[in-house]
């Protein structure tokens, strides 16, 4: 009487995911994400084909590609930092706030130079880089400390700290840091030439060089040093990490300094490489975009580079769509969100395989 329906397939868990499968899955699900967003747009009566053509045009037109590369620098820097943090199982979603702390620190350095003459012009860029790195890193460490010492969930604290940082920068540009010659607009003084990128080979490629250097350094840090091993062990099994004598608080502090520091550096580049002065809400959620990039790159610091250029391209595509098809930036947000979900679905599917049995 036992007539159970037997399917000729069985789903098995993989022990190991071959790189070829991994890459195929990521690409397949990226295409699925495009298809899904396109069908929603088609449902809303938007010509999805022309939207996709416009998005593609960003990657085939030299000027637009340069713009995409420029945008990819801040989001890529933050994303490289996040790969470290996520590998250590520290769920830092505070890159946005740490970016704002980086902007705060680099603007502070500029003001010290402009108002008090404390820092010579040639030292501006390096000082700003260090200051923003430290500011972002310490801000992230605050959440790390709360987790190490009190066991406070870092997802919630880093999220809340984003809004605090945004409001803090708001306060500065509406208040004490407002440009006295700025006709009352909430803007800092424009950064002097010495505090801007673009002197050597254009902002985009100087930024790309920095991003590439940082990605390589982090890659070596993760693969060639004990710190990298510690991070992976702590992330995969904190119990074994404790047994192995890894000092957790110290490891997490270093992780926080790297991930928050790189986000701070991203804020520095956003001002010195792109905007040129501090203004409220200078980052329209780039810290969250960085999370998507980190996942798209499979938490690999080197892969974060192409992933960042891809997402930077989507941001530029948002402007293009607005100009050509009169579509709001929302079209890109829709695309980003489906890509985000599809990447993690791909991660999920990768771990299984279908076995035929007859």
């Amino acid at each position: 009487m036992d007539v159970a329906l037997r399917l000729p397939i069985k789903v098995e868990r993989r022990l190991e995911v071959p790189a070829s499968v991994s890459a195929t899955m990521t690409v397949t699900f990226l295409l699925l994400a495009l298809l899904f967003s396109a069908s929603i747009m088609q449902l809303l009566g938007i010509d999805a084909v022309s939207v996709l053509v416009q998005v593609l045009s960003v990657f085939t037109t030299w000027e637009l590609l340069t713009a995409a590369v420029l945008r990819s620098v801040p989001i890529g820097l933050a994303a490289v930092g996040l790969t470290v943090s996520f590998r250590s199982n520290f769920w830092n979603i505070g890159a946005e706030g740490q970016m704002f702390m980086g902007m705060f620190a680099s603007t502070g350095v500029v003001l010290l130079h402009a108002y008090y003459g404390l820092i010579p012009g040639w030292a501006l860029l390096p000082t700003m880089a260090i200051a923003s790195f430290v500011a972002g890193g310490l801000y992230c460490s605050l959440a790390g400390l709360l987790r190490s010492k009190l066991g406070v969930n870092e997802v919630l604290t880093t999220l809340m700290m984003n809004f605090i940082a945004v409001l803090f920068v708001d306060y500065l540009v509406y208040g004490p840091w407002r440009d006295p010659k700025g006709y009352g607009f909430p803007l800092s003084i424009p950064f002097p030439k010495e505090a801007r990128f673009g002197g050597v080979m254009g902002e985009a490629y100087e930024g790309l060089a920095i991003l590439a250097a940082v990605a390589v350094i982090v890659y070596f840090l993760m693969t060639r040093t004990t710190f990298g091993v510690d991070v992976k062990v702590v992330g995969e099994n904190p119990y074994i990490a404790g047994m192995a004598g890894i000092r957790m608080t110290r490891t997490y502090f270093l992780v926080n300094m790297v991930t928050g520091g790189l986000a701070g550096l991203a804020g520095f580049f956003l001002l010195s490489g792109i905007i040129g002065r501090l203004r409220p809400r200078a980052s329209p959620g780039y810290g969250y975009t960085a999370i998507i990039i980190a996942f798209l790159a499979g938490l690999h610091p080197l892969l974060a580079l192409p992933a960042a250029v891809f997402m930077g391209g989507l941001i530029v595509a948002g402007d293009v769509l607005q100009a050509t098809l009169n579509l709001p930036f929302a079209a890109v947000q829709l695309l980003q969100s489906t890509i985000f979900v599809m990447i993690v679905v791909a991660e999920f599917v990768k771990r299984y395989r279908i076995v035929w049995r007859w």
């Binding site: 929603i40 747009m41 809303l44 009566g45 938007i46 769920w91 979603i93 709360l146 009190l150 066991g151 406070v152 969930n153 997802v155 919630l156 604290t157 999220l159 809340m160 700290m161 809004f163 605090i164 409001l167 803090f168 708001d170 306060y171 509406y174 208040g175 969250y288 999370i291 996942f295 009169n326 579509l327 709001p328 930036f329 929302a330 079209a331 890109v332 947000q333 829709l334 695309l335 980003q336 969100s337 489906t338 985000f340 979900v341 993690v344 679905v345 999920f348």
Partner: protein, 326 residues
């Protein structure tokens, strides 16, 4: 000299503003009590607001609220499918839903798209109803006799239907959560899912149910923000309030009744910020006042890490963890 009518005005506004947070946090409390950390609240709210905007002008308040509930349930099902069935990372899914909500609401309300949807819904609609960024607000319903009482009357008994709904929902949801077997099931699923499973509680079905609840309440909160509080459409008009609701859930330590007080507190902060600005007080730096909800949330979280406090207030132990049935 501060007049009584000024205080009445501030308090009534506090209740109206607090209702946004109350509706959202009530839903979030149910989700988190069952172990689902829903960072998609902001996205649910903005979609609710967009649906309310389009449908109120096309078909009126009742149809609009029905549609909001339907869409909310669908968003809840989406959340549950991703985090319960596929067991994807809740942080990722939540952030993606927020981004998705921003995208969807922005597209739905774009001039041409909105016009097409509204004409399909109601072919007789005049052009003016399609172009406008506004909609008719929900009317205040005065409770007979009670609304005559000074101070309390205008503050509590002269509000619109959604305000009453939120207050009643807080009491009912508290009762269900702490005094019924359904509530016990929800809490045990969030506390120790495998134990709950072995006691015969269906973990998956319970989490699906609470996801639908958070979807509906989140979308209602957004709809209320639009037709109940500020019936003028602005893109991304929720402006991070979904995240304040998350902070509120922590402050209320996952209790629907404490959420009422938290909502009034956060609502009051926001109202006072506007009012005090008019007086020239705190006009220089309103940002520090606006930071309060987030700072309060972090301090509360830290206090909750103390073992005795944790035990007494009941932080869901399995919050954010997917359940694998072995």
């Amino acid at each position: 000299m501060v007049e009584v009518s000024w205080i009445e005005g501030v308090l009534a506004l506090t209740v109206q503003f607090g209702t946004v947070y109350l509706l959202a946090s009530l839903g979030e409390i149910y989700a988190e009590r069952s172990g689902i950390l829903n960072l998609g609240m902001e996205g649910m709210m903005i979609v609710g607001a967009a649906i309310a905007f389009i449908f109120t002008n096309a078909l009126g308040h009742v149809m609009s609220l029905l549609m909001v509930v339907l869409v909310g349930a669908l968003m809840g099902l989406l959340l549950a499918f991703l985090v319960v069935t596929l067991r994807l990372n809740q942080v990722v899914v939540g952030l993606a839903i927020t981004l998705f909500g921003y995208g969807l609401s922005g597209l739905l309300t774009q001039q041409a798209i909105r016009a097409r949807i509204m004409r399909a819904l109601n072919p007789d609609l005049p052009e003016s109803a399609i172009v406008t960024q506004q909609a008719e607000a929900l009317r205040a319903l005065k409770v007979p006799y009670l609304s005559e009482i000074p101070v309390i009357g205008p503050v509590l008994f002269s509000q619109n239907a959604l305000v009453y709904f939120a207050l009643v929902a807080a009491v009912v949801m508290w009762f269900v959560l702490f005094r019924t077997s359904v509530g016990l099931a929800i809490r045990s699923v969030g506390e120790n899912p495998s134990m709950a499973d072995s006691l015969g509680i269906n973990v998956f079905r319970t989490r699906y149910a609470t996801s639908v609840v958070v979807g509906i309440m989140g979308c209602l909160a957004g709809a209320y923000l639009f037709i109940g509080y500020q019936p003028f459409w602005v893109e991304m008009m929720t402006n991070g309030r979904g995240f304040i609701a998350l902070a509120l859930v922590i402050l209320a330590s996952w209790s629907p009744l404490r959420a009422v007080f938290g909502a009034l507190l956060f609502g009051g902060v926001e109202v006072l910020q506007f009012r005090l600005q008019l007086f020239g007080f705190a006009a220089q730096s309103p940002q520090f006042v606006l930071m309060l909800p987030y700072i309060v949330a972090i301090v509360t979280l830290s206090a909750l890490s103390i073992e005795s406090v944790r035990k007494r207030l009941g932080v869901p132990e399995a919050l954010g963890k997917p359940y694998y049935r072995e």
